[in-house]
Symmetry: D2
């Protein structure tokens, strides 16, 4: 079927490519004319602006917006809302906050324009692997767009089928789901990312413990000099913890076991934060997901003010003085009292 696509970045461009490969047609727009040209050469119809894009689509239109979440997505959808006609549908495939979806859908509904939110996972690998899509919106609109989703989804592939799903919607096994009304798609995608943070942090801490198993501060008979890259690899095979994230980690470590090309400054997008806000609103204890988020916050600071407060208190009650300089990590583990007797000077 025909789809309009606004935003031809890494995600939007590949979505269009995957659609065209399967026989769909796309009318595409990006504020960067080169991005439009590139896809035009690959078979898409280029548009010079939103108005042009809308004009080139047949009613009832479907326009997928694939832009960075926030201001640019908001204003683009506002503009499209004014250009589109009753019966058309806007699809937000970005990382929008689900409450924004609900608000927007209400406004668009006044002009009988539908709104569908698609939490799209798959990152830079989606063109090949397909995209896992969590979709919110009215069921009939979801059904109308089904050919698009069916093409973008990864399909069953060689992933084993889960027993006991015979009476369930078979599309879920293809990698896309009608999660519920507007907002449900991005809500589920949000929690997906919250879990992603938690999984990543679990692996990260484990590898950190392996990496530090050889520091000087440990008693010599309790030290291990472990090959982290090999351990990541062996866990991919027959252990309890294989995952795609572990595959990626094994791959990175095979290239560089020290990971010293990375500074360790870790960004977070909105979903991790919103997941915690949702947990708090629901009174669900989410220790692990929250700690994973906080580890990223902390990674971006030289020192927190909190730590200075601690130092000030320690100076206050104990006369403790801080070390003058940042000590070598290898020497910081065990105070003298923690060492076994044989290790002490």
């Amino acid at each position: 079927m025909q789809l309009g696509m606004v935003g031809l970045g890494r995600m939007g461009g590949n979505i269009v490519r995957r659609l065209m490969k399967d026989g769909h047609h796309a009318v595409v727009y990006d504020r960067d004319p080169q991005a439009v040209d590139a896809l035009t050469r690959e078979g898409a119809t280029g548009a010079q602006g939103l108005e042009d894009l809308v004009r080139k689509l047949d009613a009832p239109r479907a326009v997928w917006v694939m832009l960075p979440a926030g201001h640019i997505t908001e204003t683009t959808i506002e503009a499209l809302g004014k250009l589109l006609a009753p019966g058309d549908v806007i699809i937000d495939g970005g990382n929008t906050f689900w409450q924004d979806d609900i608000r927007r859908a209400k406004t668009l509904e006044e002009n009988s324009i539908s709104y569908v939110d698609v939490g799209t996972s798959g990152g830079i690998w989606g063109y090949e692997r397909g995209y896992c899509m969590m979709i919110g919106g009215d069921k009939p609109v979801f059904d109308r767009l089904d050919p698009i989703f069916a093409t973008l989804a990864p399909g069953i592939g060689d992933i084993p089928r889960t027993p006991g799903r015979d009476d369930r919607d078979p599309r879920v096994e293809q990698g896309y789901i009608h999660a519920g009304p507007v907002g449900a798609g991005h809500f589920v995608k949000m929690v997906h990312n919250g879990i992603e943070y938690g999984l990543m942090q679990a692996y990260a801490e484990g590898f950190d413990i392996l990496k530090n198993a050889n520091i000087d501060a440990l008693p010599s008979e309790h030290r291990f000099d472990l090959d982290i890259a090999d351990i990541a690899e062996v866990w991919r095979r027959g252990s309890v913890i294989p995952s795609w994230l572990l595959d990626l980690t094994a791959s990175a470590l095979a290239r560089n076991g020290e990971l010293d090309t990375y500074s360790g400054f870790v960004e977070d997008s909105g979903e991790g934060r919103w997941t915690i806000n949702a947990a708090i609103e629901e009174a669900v204890p989410a220790e692990v997901l929250t700690s994973a988020l906080y580890a990223r916050f902390r990674s971006r600071k030289q020192h927190t003010f909190a730590e200075k407060i601690l130092s000030a208190m320690r100076a206050g009650f104990g006369g403790h003085k801080e070390p003058q300089q940042h000590p070598d990590a290898a020497h910081q583990a065990a105070p003298e009292i923690l060492k076994p007797k044989a290790e002490r000077a």
Copy 2:
């Protein structure tokens, strides 16, 4: 090659079966004679005791002990140490604390008996999938036992190979690793389990947030009635968070989306605890792995004394009284002040 096996439970029995299927021969013992008989009928040589087992093995002997970690493993290895001869090797394939390995190996070394610790992952699926093995001990002993490990390991199978590993030990890709000297095998397996706890808790919290997205306490326009089983399934396909643990979860949810056959009382074995002890000794912050362990501790209590202390303090400074009975979970999320205006009475 020939292997002695002590302990024919779920793990030990299937290890023997997988070995025999590949042409190895096993001399087996278990204190339950029926377990011995069963494997004898499948081709193993049965032994009536440790002494008999040692007698039936050709020197240099290799005896794998596959018993619950703790007292029974300890005493069995002590007894074997007295029966075996210089050049023999004892393999502890259970969940032993790595410092116990080091201690035992020192004692056995006095009689020139070798000791190898094998962290064995794969659980009840190992017979089919193979076992991921993390192995500690002297390299020559490891090499001597290689035929055993090669058979038990899952092999490459259809798991894609990690690029950049051409110069590395190819056995790692088969699913077994010589992690280092005695203790290193169980140390790596310990961290594997620590990570496992963290991964499990990350998924668990995420599903909990999804499950509670429909509680009464939330504003009605922000509630979603989500199909958890379908969401678990869709995440298996093309998302960032597929894993074997997610496969198992999707499978359990497909059978029973409420999981109401489970009480939610979650046990922990030693490895999760030892992982945290190791993190602390190394001064590695391990928030996620620790929280995952604590969630299990908490799951096994009606109430903690800590919570009573909180209640007592609240009564002290605010005159707060506790609810007389345990409130319905669905109604506990939002205090009045947190609700949007339209929702308030």
Copy 3:
């Protein structure tokens, strides 16, 4: 000076009493006429409704609203906004969300009515001890209300003065502060409560560790049967951790060392949640304050869905079965493998 008070509950009533004791005059209203009568007998002027209250106050009026945060406070302030005249001031002394303050102040400003938010701490002890007040609003309005705040504040009393404060606002030492513009009062009070949760949980966990130092699962030579009440008391004197919260704990434990009159179901008000939301918005890692909140969430559940997910996974990969019934807490600590050798069966 003269003050109108709406809401004569535990807090509002005692605020009026403390004001009258110091020579101020109060016009009071509560929807419960008996509450009005009681304070009228103590010297206040009773009002029969908001209109009556406004009529009985001299312009420029100051009306303190001391109601449960949420709907009732919101509608009361709306109603007052319509009854009051330019130059009047509304004081919200409740536990309002600071962003609501900012919104309300903007609306009231259109009619030249001022708004002051007072985070009021002191609980049921405030009449005697005085109230610690964190105040947001325009400085001139704060100054106009100073006589009220000065009376309500605890004053220096016998709390030692902090050196180095000679050039600072002396009112802070009296126990009240102009924290900033509208919203700042409740923002600071919110963080106060967030800290309160963290402090409480720190003590609670510590006492829990002391309480469980004698469980059967520990090796007998490592068990201590500690007198928790005496320990709480001794820490009040010369240790690093005395505090008012510890005083309250020592008092509760002296009455009942088991605290078995408490169920351990712990509620939370909005401030703890908002504190975490603020931390997340600021990207400040707040592990301790968040864990303290989550401990309360968890205390109100029999089991989380998260825990059932864990059980389901464990059954999936390991065939682990749950215990049929809730085990006795005293026996749950150490798996067999964790026990010292001498303790094992």
Copy 4:
């Protein structure tokens, strides 16, 4: 009464001074002769070594060892054990691990020498304020040493008495407690320090949230420029969270509100770690105490290996690149999507 003191550092020296001020006599030794001379001039009897010290004491002797926990304490007590006679007592007033106490006491008992462990709190303020002492050992030995403890304890002073303690040991109110058998003193002191870490971190995080309430990344109408020093001060008076730790914080902030003389590198001693180990052994969830410890670990690292793992994974699945340099803290809070519409470019 007479006491031998080994170790005349900040703690040991002031303990001797407080004892002498109250009429006790001390025989003192330190490996630094100047420390011995100083106290000799103040009235103590100086000793030139352990042997000399033992010789100068009347039997039955009591020798207090006040040295850094670990090797030096261990060897000193070993040496004393050989010099002392049946009926003598060794007091370890340092921060010894309680299991070491139990081990030592067993050895000394063979020669009928008693051992008492004293968890001593009070830091550099103890000479003036007195020391809170948590004491483990045989009751008769504790009773024999009572005059020493009674002098060192702070006494009731002006701290209000807790009601309901009439039938309890009055010494607790003086600030010292017989906590139980050998080890119980240091066990209770250990938990005291664990709580201390938690309390400190709770305040620290709260102040961090206040401090960051004015960062650029927040929407301008939600920013507050707060005076942290004044807020610390006002909370000392009538709020729920006054404590000695808050007094110290207020004092430090009054001197320097930015605390920019502190680097924020925070050390930990053994007690915080042992507290977590004890919690784990008891299966007590101790989220807050553990997070407080981990915050210190993290404060001493530029970056963790865990963070590099996260970066590597993010590059793997999303092509995310890290910022080239450490961004200014003030700009790191909110991704574009989190900002309110009006704030966006």
